[in-house]
Protein backbone atom coordinates (compact mmCIF):
# COMPACT_ATOMS: atom_id res chain seq x y z
CA UNK A 1 0.00 0.00 0.00
CA UNK A 2 1.24 3.44 -0.83
CA UNK A 3 0.30 6.59 0.91
CA UNK A 4 0.13 9.58 -1.35
CA UNK A 5 0.69 12.14 1.37
CA UNK A 6 3.37 11.84 4.04
CA UNK A 7 2.24 12.52 7.58
CA UNK A 8 2.55 16.21 8.39
CA UNK A 9 4.02 17.54 11.65
CA UNK A 10 0.47 17.94 12.92
CA UNK A 11 0.33 14.15 13.08
CA UNK A 12 2.46 14.31 16.25
CA UNK A 13 -0.51 15.76 18.10
CA UNK A 14 -1.84 12.23 18.23
CA UNK A 15 0.94 11.24 20.65
CA UNK A 16 -0.72 12.14 24.01
CA UNK A 17 -3.92 10.31 23.09
CA UNK A 18 -1.87 7.39 21.77
CA UNK A 19 0.07 7.15 25.02
CA UNK A 20 -3.11 7.36 27.13
CA UNK A 21 -4.78 4.64 25.09
CA UNK A 22 -1.80 2.28 25.09
CA UNK A 23 -1.17 2.61 28.84
CA UNK A 24 -4.76 2.71 30.09
CA UNK A 25 -6.71 0.79 27.46
CA UNK A 26 -4.68 -1.66 25.36
CA UNK A 27 -2.37 -2.75 28.15
CA UNK A 28 -5.08 -3.25 30.80
CA UNK A 29 -7.18 -5.36 28.44
CA UNK A 30 -4.08 -7.43 27.66
CA UNK A 31 -3.51 -7.83 31.40
CA UNK A 32 -7.13 -8.84 31.94
CA UNK A 33 -6.90 -11.46 29.20
CA UNK A 34 -3.61 -12.78 30.59
CA UNK A 35 -5.02 -12.90 34.12
CA UNK A 36 -7.95 -14.97 32.90
CA UNK A 37 -5.47 -17.73 31.96
CA UNK A 38 -3.62 -17.74 35.29
CA UNK A 39 -4.52 -19.59 38.46
CA UNK A 40 -3.60 -16.60 40.63
CA UNK A 41 -1.73 -13.31 40.57
CA UNK A 42 1.48 -14.16 38.65
CA UNK A 43 3.38 -11.17 40.11
CA UNK A 44 2.85 -11.80 43.81
CA UNK A 45 2.32 -15.54 43.73
CA UNK A 46 5.26 -17.53 42.30
CA UNK A 47 3.13 -20.68 42.25
CA UNK A 48 0.58 -19.25 39.86
CA UNK A 49 0.37 -21.34 36.71
CA UNK A 50 -1.24 -21.10 33.30
CA UNK A 51 -4.64 -22.72 33.11
CA UNK A 52 -7.92 -22.72 31.23
CA UNK A 53 -9.85 -23.72 34.31
CA UNK A 54 -11.73 -20.41 34.62
CA UNK A 55 -13.18 -20.88 31.16
CA UNK A 56 -13.95 -24.51 31.91
CA UNK A 57 -15.73 -23.43 35.05
CA UNK A 58 -17.95 -21.18 32.96
CA UNK A 59 -18.37 -23.67 30.13
CA UNK A 60 -19.31 -26.71 32.25
CA UNK A 61 -21.16 -24.59 34.77
CA UNK A 62 -21.43 -27.15 37.56
CA UNK A 63 -22.86 -24.46 39.85
CA UNK A 64 -25.67 -24.01 37.33
CA UNK A 65 -25.70 -20.21 37.43
CA UNK A 66 -23.32 -19.00 34.73
CA UNK A 67 -25.31 -20.07 31.67
CA UNK A 68 -28.45 -18.71 33.27
CA UNK A 69 -26.64 -15.40 33.89
CA UNK A 70 -25.47 -15.20 30.28
CA UNK A 71 -28.93 -16.05 29.04
CA UNK A 72 -30.70 -13.51 31.23
CA UNK A 73 -28.15 -10.85 30.22
CA UNK A 74 -28.97 -11.43 26.56
CA UNK A 75 -32.71 -11.72 27.20
CA UNK A 76 -32.85 -8.45 29.15
CA UNK A 77 -30.75 -6.79 26.45
CA UNK A 78 -33.03 -8.01 23.67
CA UNK A 79 -36.31 -7.01 25.34
CA UNK A 80 -34.84 -3.63 26.31
CA UNK A 81 -33.79 -3.06 22.70
CA UNK A 82 -37.18 -3.95 21.25
CA UNK A 83 -39.12 -1.80 23.71
CA UNK A 84 -36.68 1.10 23.24
CA UNK A 85 -37.22 0.88 19.50
CA UNK A 86 -41.03 0.90 19.90
CA UNK A 87 -40.82 3.94 22.17
CA UNK A 88 -38.00 5.70 20.38
CA UNK A 89 -39.27 5.48 16.82
CA UNK A 90 -42.42 7.63 17.18
CA UNK A 91 -40.45 10.26 19.08
CA UNK A 92 -37.67 10.30 16.53
CA UNK A 93 -40.14 10.50 13.65
CA UNK A 94 -41.95 13.37 15.32
CA UNK A 95 -38.72 15.25 15.91
CA UNK A 96 -37.33 14.66 12.43
CA UNK A 97 -40.52 15.90 10.77
CA UNK A 98 -41.19 18.83 13.09
CA UNK A 99 -41.39 22.16 11.30
CA UNK A 100 -41.21 24.49 14.27
CA UNK A 101 -37.63 25.17 15.35
CA UNK A 102 -38.69 25.96 18.88
CA UNK A 103 -40.71 22.77 19.14
CA UNK A 104 -37.74 20.82 17.84
CA UNK A 105 -35.39 22.40 20.37
CA UNK A 106 -37.83 21.71 23.23
CA UNK A 107 -38.30 18.05 22.35
CA UNK A 108 -34.57 17.72 21.90
CA UNK A 109 -34.03 19.18 25.37
CA UNK A 110 -36.60 16.76 26.77
CA UNK A 111 -34.81 13.81 25.17
CA UNK A 112 -31.35 14.92 26.22
CA UNK A 113 -32.30 15.90 29.79
CA UNK A 114 -32.55 12.28 31.01
CA UNK A 115 -29.18 11.55 29.37
CA UNK A 116 -27.58 14.20 31.52
CA UNK A 117 -28.92 12.56 34.64
CA UNK A 118 -26.66 9.85 35.94
CA UNK A 119 -27.60 6.17 35.75
CA UNK A 120 -27.71 5.92 39.53
CA UNK A 121 -30.12 8.84 39.79
CA UNK A 122 -32.42 7.52 37.07
CA UNK A 123 -32.48 4.09 38.61
CA UNK A 124 -33.40 5.72 41.92
CA UNK A 125 -36.27 7.53 40.18
CA UNK A 126 -37.67 4.19 39.01
CA UNK A 127 -37.26 2.66 42.45
CA UNK A 128 -39.48 5.39 43.90
CA UNK A 129 -42.07 4.72 41.22
CA UNK A 130 -42.12 0.93 41.14
CA UNK A 131 -41.44 -0.19 44.71
CA UNK A 132 -44.22 -1.56 46.96
CA UNK A 133 -44.80 1.85 48.55
CA UNK A 134 -44.00 3.62 45.31
CA UNK A 135 -46.06 5.94 43.19
CA UNK A 136 -47.86 3.33 41.09
CA UNK A 137 -48.72 0.85 43.82
CA UNK A 138 -49.88 3.49 46.30
CA UNK A 139 -52.07 5.16 43.73
CA UNK A 140 -53.64 1.91 42.58
CA UNK A 141 -54.30 0.86 46.17
CA UNK A 142 -55.84 4.20 47.04
CA UNK A 143 -58.20 3.86 44.12
CA UNK A 144 -59.07 0.43 45.40
CA UNK A 145 -58.01 -1.25 42.18
CA UNK A 146 -55.63 -3.67 43.89
CA UNK A 147 -55.48 -5.22 47.35
CA UNK A 148 -51.75 -5.65 47.74
CA UNK A 149 -48.84 -4.11 45.85
CA UNK A 150 -48.03 -5.44 42.41
CA UNK A 151 -44.53 -6.94 42.10
CA UNK A 152 -43.16 -4.20 39.85
CA UNK A 153 -39.62 -4.18 41.17
CA UNK A 154 -36.89 -6.57 42.28
CA UNK A 155 -37.52 -8.59 39.15
CA UNK A 156 -36.79 -8.56 35.43
CA UNK A 157 -39.77 -6.33 34.66
CA UNK A 158 -38.51 -3.45 36.79
CA UNK A 159 -35.00 -3.90 35.43
CA UNK A 160 -36.21 -3.63 31.86
CA UNK A 161 -38.45 -0.60 32.51
CA UNK A 162 -35.55 1.34 34.03
CA UNK A 163 -33.10 0.21 31.33
CA UNK A 164 -35.49 1.30 28.59
CA UNK A 165 -35.82 4.71 30.18
CA UNK A 166 -32.06 5.05 30.40
CA UNK A 167 -31.30 3.98 26.83
CA UNK A 168 -34.26 5.34 24.81
CA UNK A 169 -32.54 8.71 24.24
CA UNK A 170 -29.69 6.93 22.42
CA UNK A 171 -32.24 5.27 20.16
CA UNK A 172 -34.07 8.56 19.51
CA UNK A 173 -30.92 10.49 18.63
CA UNK A 174 -29.69 7.78 16.28
CA UNK A 175 -33.06 7.43 14.55
CA UNK A 176 -33.72 11.17 14.26
CA UNK A 177 -30.57 11.63 12.20
CA UNK A 178 -31.51 8.85 9.80
CA UNK A 179 -35.20 9.74 9.45
CA UNK A 180 -34.31 13.40 8.99
CA UNK A 181 -32.18 12.53 5.98
CA UNK A 182 -35.01 10.68 4.22
CA UNK A 183 -36.47 12.96 1.58
CA UNK A 184 -40.00 13.80 2.70
CA UNK A 185 -41.06 14.19 -0.91
CA UNK A 186 -40.79 10.41 -1.34
CA UNK A 187 -43.59 9.97 1.17
CA UNK A 188 -45.57 12.80 -0.41
CA UNK A 189 -45.17 11.19 -3.81
CA UNK A 190 -46.51 7.90 -2.46
CA UNK A 191 -49.48 9.71 -0.98
CA UNK A 192 -50.27 11.66 -4.11
CA UNK A 193 -50.26 8.34 -5.95
CA UNK A 194 -53.05 7.24 -3.64
CA UNK A 195 -51.35 5.57 -0.69
CA UNK A 196 -52.83 6.35 2.73
CA UNK A 197 -50.61 8.00 5.34
CA UNK A 198 -50.01 4.75 7.15
CA UNK A 199 -49.22 2.86 3.94
CA UNK A 200 -46.87 5.60 2.73
CA UNK A 201 -45.06 5.34 6.05
CA UNK A 202 -44.88 1.54 6.10
CA UNK A 203 -43.77 1.20 2.50
CA UNK A 204 -41.51 4.23 2.10
CA UNK A 205 -40.21 5.80 5.29
CA UNK A 206 -39.95 2.68 7.43
CA UNK A 207 -37.79 0.67 4.98
CA UNK A 208 -35.57 3.68 4.34
CA UNK A 209 -34.99 4.12 8.05
CA UNK A 210 -33.84 0.51 8.50
CA UNK A 211 -30.15 1.45 8.84
CA UNK A 212 -31.07 3.78 11.70
CA UNK A 213 -33.17 1.08 13.33
CA UNK A 214 -30.24 -1.32 13.20
CA UNK A 215 -27.69 1.22 14.36
CA UNK A 216 -29.87 2.35 17.27
CA UNK A 217 -30.64 -1.24 18.25
CA UNK A 218 -26.96 -2.11 18.18
CA UNK A 219 -26.19 0.76 20.49
CA UNK A 220 -28.98 0.01 22.95
CA UNK A 221 -28.28 -3.72 23.00
CA UNK A 222 -24.55 -3.22 23.58
CA UNK A 223 -25.29 -0.72 26.36
CA UNK A 224 -27.91 -2.81 28.11
CA UNK A 225 -25.97 -6.09 28.20
CA UNK A 226 -23.15 -4.28 29.97
CA UNK A 227 -25.39 -2.48 32.46
CA UNK A 228 -24.55 -3.08 36.10
CA UNK A 229 -26.24 -0.47 38.28
CA UNK A 230 -29.79 -0.95 37.09
CA UNK A 231 -30.03 -4.75 37.20
CA UNK A 232 -28.34 -4.90 40.59
CA UNK A 233 -30.65 -2.30 42.15
CA UNK A 234 -33.88 -3.12 40.30
CA UNK A 235 -33.38 -6.85 39.92
CA UNK A 236 -33.07 -7.78 43.57
CA UNK A 237 -32.28 -11.44 44.04
CA UNK A 238 -34.31 -12.37 40.97
CA UNK A 239 -31.86 -11.10 38.40
CA UNK A 240 -28.23 -12.09 37.93
CA UNK A 241 -26.50 -10.76 34.83
CA UNK A 242 -22.94 -11.20 33.60
CA UNK A 243 -21.80 -7.73 34.77
CA UNK A 244 -23.27 -8.46 38.21
CA UNK A 245 -21.43 -11.79 38.28
CA UNK A 246 -18.19 -10.00 37.42
CA UNK A 247 -18.67 -7.46 40.22
CA UNK A 248 -19.39 -10.34 42.63
CA UNK A 249 -16.14 -12.06 41.66
CA UNK A 250 -14.14 -8.89 42.25
CA UNK A 251 -15.98 -7.66 45.33
CA UNK A 252 -17.13 -10.57 47.47
CA UNK A 253 -15.33 -13.64 46.10
CA UNK A 254 -12.10 -11.77 45.31
CA UNK A 255 -11.31 -13.98 42.35
CA UNK A 256 -9.92 -11.50 39.80
CA UNK A 257 -8.81 -14.33 37.53
CA UNK A 258 -12.28 -15.76 37.14
CA UNK A 259 -13.63 -12.20 36.85
CA UNK A 260 -11.14 -11.71 34.01
CA UNK A 261 -12.42 -14.81 32.22
CA UNK A 262 -16.02 -13.59 32.60
CA UNK A 263 -14.86 -10.21 31.31
CA UNK A 264 -13.30 -11.77 28.23
CA UNK A 265 -16.54 -13.69 27.59
CA UNK A 266 -18.68 -10.54 27.90
CA UNK A 267 -16.22 -8.65 25.72
CA UNK A 268 -16.37 -11.32 23.00
CA UNK A 269 -20.17 -11.37 23.08
CA UNK A 270 -20.45 -7.59 22.75
CA UNK A 271 -17.74 -7.35 20.10
CA UNK A 272 -19.47 -10.06 18.08
CA UNK A 273 -22.68 -8.02 18.16
CA UNK A 274 -20.86 -4.84 17.18
CA UNK A 275 -19.15 -6.55 14.24
CA UNK A 276 -22.35 -8.25 13.05
CA UNK A 277 -24.36 -5.06 13.11
CA UNK A 278 -21.60 -3.07 11.42
CA UNK A 279 -21.63 -5.64 8.62
CA UNK A 280 -25.40 -5.30 8.23
CA UNK A 281 -25.13 -1.53 8.25
CA UNK A 282 -22.38 -1.52 5.65
CA UNK A 283 -24.37 -3.84 3.41
CA UNK A 284 -27.48 -1.70 3.74
CA UNK A 285 -25.53 1.44 2.96
CA UNK A 286 -24.04 -0.29 -0.10
CA UNK A 287 -27.45 -1.48 -1.30
CA UNK A 288 -28.83 2.01 -1.00
CA UNK A 289 -25.96 3.44 -2.95
CA UNK A 290 -26.74 1.13 -5.87
CA UNK A 291 -30.47 1.76 -5.86
Amino acid sequence: MTNAARPSPIAWLIAPAGLLFVLFFVLPFAVMTAMSFYSGNPVTNPNAFLTTRHYERFLFDTAGIFHEALWSTLRIGLVTTIVSLLIGYPLAHWMARMQSRLGHALVLMAVIAPMLTGIVVRTFAWMTILQDKGVINTTLMQWGLIEKPLPLMYNEFGTIVALVHIYVPFMVLTLTGVIGRIDERLEQAARSLGAGRLRAFVEVTLPLSLPGILAGSLLVFALSISAYVTPSLMGGTDVLTLPMLIAQQVGTSFNPNFAGALGVILLLVSLAIVVAYNRILARLAGGQGMA
Partner: protein
Protein backbone atom coordinates in the same frame (compact mmCIF):
# COMPACT_ATOMS: atom_id res chain seq x y z
CA UNK B 1 -47.53 16.70 6.85
CA UNK B 2 -45.14 19.43 5.77
CA UNK B 3 -47.55 22.13 4.67
CA UNK B 4 -50.31 20.98 6.98
CA UNK B 5 -52.78 23.85 7.01
CA UNK B 6 -53.92 24.70 10.50
CA UNK B 7 -57.54 24.65 9.70
CA UNK B 8 -58.32 21.14 8.67
CA UNK B 9 -61.21 19.09 9.90
CA UNK B 10 -60.33 17.12 13.03
CA UNK B 11 -57.74 14.53 12.05
CA UNK B 12 -58.00 11.48 14.28
CA UNK B 13 -54.78 9.90 13.00
CA UNK B 14 -52.78 13.05 13.61
CA UNK B 15 -54.30 13.47 17.06
CA UNK B 16 -53.41 9.90 18.01
CA UNK B 17 -49.87 10.46 16.73
CA UNK B 18 -49.46 13.57 18.86
CA UNK B 19 -51.06 11.96 21.91
CA UNK B 20 -48.73 8.97 21.62
CA UNK B 21 -45.69 11.21 21.43
CA UNK B 22 -46.85 13.33 24.36
CA UNK B 23 -47.22 10.11 26.35
CA UNK B 24 -43.71 8.99 25.43
CA UNK B 25 -42.27 12.37 26.41
CA UNK B 26 -44.05 11.99 29.73
CA UNK B 27 -42.37 8.61 30.17
CA UNK B 28 -38.99 10.28 29.63
CA UNK B 29 -39.53 13.27 31.90
CA UNK B 30 -41.89 12.19 34.68
CA UNK B 31 -39.37 10.09 36.63
CA UNK B 32 -37.13 13.13 36.95
CA UNK B 33 -40.04 15.26 38.14
CA UNK B 34 -40.91 12.59 40.69
CA UNK B 35 -37.39 12.71 42.13
CA UNK B 36 -37.94 16.41 42.79
CA UNK B 37 -41.19 15.64 44.61
CA UNK B 38 -39.44 13.15 46.88
CA UNK B 39 -36.54 15.51 47.51
CA UNK B 40 -39.00 18.03 48.96
CA UNK B 41 -41.30 15.56 50.73
CA UNK B 42 -40.60 15.52 54.50
CA UNK B 43 -41.58 11.91 55.37
CA UNK B 44 -38.66 9.76 56.54
CA UNK B 45 -39.19 7.11 53.86
CA UNK B 46 -40.22 7.29 50.27
CA UNK B 47 -43.99 7.51 50.29
CA UNK B 48 -46.63 8.75 47.95
CA UNK B 49 -48.53 11.05 47.78
CA UNK B 50 -46.29 13.81 49.21
CA UNK B 51 -47.47 15.44 52.43
CA UNK B 52 -45.62 18.74 52.34
CA UNK B 53 -42.56 20.68 51.39
CA UNK B 54 -39.34 20.76 53.35
CA UNK B 55 -35.65 21.17 52.75
CA UNK B 56 -34.63 18.65 55.39
CA UNK B 57 -33.25 16.18 52.84
CA UNK B 58 -31.13 18.84 51.21
CA UNK B 59 -29.93 19.73 54.69
CA UNK B 60 -29.14 16.09 55.41
CA UNK B 61 -27.26 15.78 52.13
CA UNK B 62 -25.25 18.95 52.59
CA UNK B 63 -24.38 18.24 56.23
CA UNK B 64 -23.44 14.60 55.74
CA UNK B 65 -19.64 14.34 55.66
CA UNK B 66 -19.65 11.20 53.51
CA UNK B 67 -21.84 12.78 50.83
CA UNK B 68 -19.87 16.01 50.89
CA UNK B 69 -16.48 14.30 50.55
CA UNK B 70 -17.84 12.30 47.65
CA UNK B 71 -19.34 15.39 46.00
CA UNK B 72 -16.06 17.29 46.23
CA UNK B 73 -14.05 14.31 44.97
CA UNK B 74 -16.43 13.92 42.03
CA UNK B 75 -16.27 17.61 41.17
CA UNK B 76 -12.50 17.64 41.44
CA UNK B 77 -12.04 14.52 39.32
CA UNK B 78 -14.54 15.75 36.70
CA UNK B 79 -12.78 19.12 36.46
CA UNK B 80 -9.36 17.55 35.94
CA UNK B 81 -10.86 15.10 33.43
CA UNK B 82 -12.50 18.02 31.60
CA UNK B 83 -9.17 19.83 31.18
CA UNK B 84 -7.16 16.72 30.29
CA UNK B 85 -9.66 15.36 27.80
CA UNK B 86 -10.08 18.72 26.06
CA UNK B 87 -6.34 19.01 25.48
CA UNK B 88 -5.73 15.38 24.57
CA UNK B 89 -8.92 14.98 22.55
CA UNK B 90 -8.63 18.20 20.54
CA UNK B 91 -4.98 17.47 19.72
CA UNK B 92 -5.90 13.96 18.63
CA UNK B 93 -8.79 15.19 16.47
CA UNK B 94 -6.52 17.73 14.76
CA UNK B 95 -3.96 15.03 14.05
CA UNK B 96 -6.67 12.76 12.65
CA UNK B 97 -8.22 15.45 10.44
CA UNK B 98 -5.13 17.36 9.34
CA UNK B 99 -2.14 15.08 9.91
CA UNK B 100 -2.38 13.03 6.68
CA UNK B 101 -1.94 9.94 8.80
CA UNK B 102 -1.97 6.54 7.13
CA UNK B 103 -4.87 4.35 8.25
CA UNK B 104 -6.94 7.28 9.42
CA UNK B 105 -10.24 5.42 9.50
CA UNK B 106 -8.80 2.61 11.59
CA UNK B 107 -7.19 5.07 14.00
CA UNK B 108 -10.43 7.00 14.39
CA UNK B 109 -12.32 3.79 15.12
CA UNK B 110 -9.63 2.84 17.63
CA UNK B 111 -9.94 6.12 19.51
CA UNK B 112 -13.74 5.70 19.59
CA UNK B 113 -13.56 2.14 20.88
CA UNK B 114 -13.85 2.92 24.62
CA UNK B 115 -17.45 3.81 23.77
CA UNK B 116 -18.04 0.40 22.19
CA UNK B 117 -16.44 -1.69 24.93
CA UNK B 118 -18.66 -2.27 27.99
CA UNK B 119 -17.62 0.36 30.53
CA UNK B 120 -17.61 -2.10 33.39
CA UNK B 121 -14.94 -4.08 31.53
CA UNK B 122 -12.77 -0.99 31.11
CA UNK B 123 -13.03 -0.62 34.88
CA UNK B 124 -12.24 -4.29 35.42
CA UNK B 125 -9.25 -4.26 33.04
CA UNK B 126 -7.79 -1.17 34.72
CA UNK B 127 -8.40 -2.72 38.14
CA UNK B 128 -6.45 -5.81 37.06
CA UNK B 129 -3.63 -3.73 35.58
CA UNK B 130 -3.34 -1.58 38.72
CA UNK B 131 -3.47 -4.72 40.88
CA UNK B 132 -0.74 -6.47 38.91
CA UNK B 133 1.56 -3.47 38.77
CA UNK B 134 1.06 -2.94 42.49
CA UNK B 135 0.19 0.76 42.29
CA UNK B 136 -2.99 0.32 44.31
CA UNK B 137 -5.94 2.56 43.58
CA UNK B 138 -4.70 6.15 43.54
CA UNK B 139 -6.90 9.08 42.52
CA UNK B 140 -4.80 9.69 39.41
CA UNK B 141 -5.61 6.16 38.31
CA UNK B 142 -9.30 7.04 38.52
CA UNK B 143 -8.69 10.29 36.63
CA UNK B 144 -6.78 8.45 33.89
CA UNK B 145 -9.67 5.96 33.60
CA UNK B 146 -12.29 8.70 33.34
CA UNK B 147 -10.16 10.61 30.83
CA UNK B 148 -9.94 7.49 28.67
CA UNK B 149 -13.73 7.24 28.38
CA UNK B 150 -14.19 11.03 28.06
CA UNK B 151 -11.62 11.67 25.30
CA UNK B 152 -13.70 9.95 22.56
CA UNK B 153 -16.49 12.51 23.08
CA UNK B 154 -14.09 15.41 22.60
CA UNK B 155 -12.54 13.76 19.53
CA UNK B 156 -15.98 13.19 18.04
CA UNK B 157 -17.33 16.72 18.53
CA UNK B 158 -14.04 18.30 17.41
CA UNK B 159 -13.86 16.11 14.31
CA UNK B 160 -17.43 17.08 13.45
CA UNK B 161 -16.47 20.76 13.49
CA UNK B 162 -13.24 20.13 11.58
CA UNK B 163 -15.13 18.32 8.83
CA UNK B 164 -17.65 21.11 8.54
CA UNK B 165 -15.46 24.13 8.25
CA UNK B 166 -13.99 25.48 5.10
CA UNK B 167 -10.31 24.66 4.75
CA UNK B 168 -9.93 27.61 2.43
CA UNK B 169 -10.05 29.92 5.43
CA UNK B 170 -6.82 28.33 6.67
CA UNK B 171 -5.35 28.39 3.18
CA UNK B 172 -6.25 32.04 2.74
CA UNK B 173 -4.44 32.90 5.97
CA UNK B 174 -1.39 30.97 4.78
CA UNK B 175 -1.47 32.66 1.36
CA UNK B 176 -1.62 36.03 3.09
CA UNK B 177 1.66 35.20 4.77
CA UNK B 178 0.72 33.70 8.14
CA UNK B 179 3.13 31.06 9.38
CA UNK B 180 1.65 27.59 10.05
CA UNK B 181 1.90 28.22 13.79
CA UNK B 182 0.06 31.50 13.46
CA UNK B 183 -2.60 29.93 11.22
CA UNK B 184 -3.10 27.29 13.88
CA UNK B 185 -3.51 29.68 16.79
CA UNK B 186 -5.39 32.44 15.03
CA UNK B 187 -7.58 30.54 12.58
CA UNK B 188 -7.90 26.83 13.32
CA UNK B 189 -8.13 26.99 17.09
CA UNK B 190 -10.90 29.63 17.28
CA UNK B 191 -12.84 27.74 14.64
CA UNK B 192 -12.81 24.40 16.43
CA UNK B 193 -13.52 25.93 19.85
CA UNK B 194 -17.29 25.18 19.82
CA UNK B 195 -16.65 21.51 19.09
CA UNK B 196 -14.00 21.26 21.76
CA UNK B 197 -16.24 22.94 24.34
CA UNK B 198 -19.17 20.71 23.50
CA UNK B 199 -16.92 17.69 23.93
CA UNK B 200 -15.67 19.14 27.20
CA UNK B 201 -19.20 19.33 28.56
CA UNK B 202 -19.74 15.69 27.65
CA UNK B 203 -16.41 14.87 29.29
CA UNK B 204 -17.40 16.60 32.52
CA UNK B 205 -20.77 14.88 32.70
CA UNK B 206 -19.35 11.48 31.72
CA UNK B 207 -16.88 11.77 34.58
CA UNK B 208 -19.23 13.31 37.13
CA UNK B 209 -21.94 10.68 36.56
CA UNK B 210 -19.49 7.84 35.96
CA UNK B 211 -20.29 4.63 37.76
CA UNK B 212 -19.15 1.44 35.97
CA UNK B 213 -15.59 2.61 35.32
CA UNK B 214 -15.25 3.89 38.89
CA UNK B 215 -16.75 0.85 40.62
CA UNK B 216 -13.52 -1.18 40.93
CA UNK B 217 -11.16 1.79 41.05
CA UNK B 218 -12.30 3.66 44.14
CA UNK B 219 -11.13 2.96 47.68
CA UNK B 220 -13.32 3.01 50.80
CA UNK B 221 -13.60 6.60 52.06
CA UNK B 222 -12.42 7.77 48.65
CA UNK B 223 -15.57 7.02 46.67
CA UNK B 224 -17.12 9.27 44.07
CA UNK B 225 -20.68 10.51 44.49
CA UNK B 226 -22.40 7.94 42.21
CA UNK B 227 -20.67 5.08 44.07
CA UNK B 228 -21.65 6.48 47.47
CA UNK B 229 -25.25 6.95 46.32
CA UNK B 230 -25.33 3.42 44.92
CA UNK B 231 -24.08 1.89 48.16
CA UNK B 232 -26.52 4.00 50.19
CA UNK B 233 -29.46 2.99 47.97
CA UNK B 234 -28.83 -0.69 48.59
CA UNK B 235 -29.93 -0.26 52.19
CA UNK B 236 -31.78 3.00 52.47
CA UNK B 237 -34.18 4.77 50.18
CA UNK B 238 -34.83 8.05 51.91
CA UNK B 239 -35.11 11.59 50.64
CA UNK B 240 -31.38 12.23 50.97
CA UNK B 241 -30.85 10.26 47.78
CA UNK B 242 -33.53 12.32 46.06
CA UNK B 243 -31.87 15.52 47.24
CA UNK B 244 -28.48 14.28 46.03
CA UNK B 245 -30.09 13.37 42.72
CA UNK B 246 -31.54 16.85 42.39
CA UNK B 247 -28.15 18.39 43.09
CA UNK B 248 -26.49 16.35 40.36
CA UNK B 249 -29.35 16.99 37.92
CA UNK B 250 -29.11 20.74 38.56
CA UNK B 251 -25.35 20.58 38.08
CA UNK B 252 -25.70 18.82 34.74
CA UNK B 253 -28.45 21.17 33.67
CA UNK B 254 -26.44 24.26 34.50
CA UNK B 255 -23.51 22.89 32.52
CA UNK B 256 -25.84 22.45 29.53
CA UNK B 257 -27.29 25.94 29.93
CA UNK B 258 -23.82 27.43 30.03
CA UNK B 259 -23.04 25.51 26.87
CA UNK B 260 -26.27 26.65 25.21
CA UNK B 261 -25.28 30.20 26.09
CA UNK B 262 -21.79 29.76 24.70
CA UNK B 263 -22.41 27.98 21.44
CA UNK B 264 -26.04 27.01 21.07
CA UNK B 265 -27.55 23.59 21.43
CA UNK B 266 -27.29 22.72 17.76
CA UNK B 267 -23.55 22.30 17.67
CA UNK B 268 -23.93 20.07 20.69
CA UNK B 269 -26.19 17.51 19.05
CA UNK B 270 -24.63 17.46 15.61
CA UNK B 271 -22.18 14.69 16.22
Amino acid sequence: MSAAPNRRPFDAGRAAYLALNALLLGFLLLPIAIVLVFALNPTPYISFPPVGVSLRWFEKFFTNAEFMNALWLSLWVATVVLVLSIVIGAACALALARGSLPGRAVLTAFFMSPLMVPAILTGLALFQAYLLSGIGRPVWGLIAAHTLVAVPYVIRTTLAVLHNFDRRIEEAAAVLGASPVRVFFEVTLPLIRPGVFAGGVFAFIVSFDQFPVSLFLVVPKGETLPVVLFNYMKFDLDGAIAAASMVSILLALSVVLVLERLIGLKAYVKL
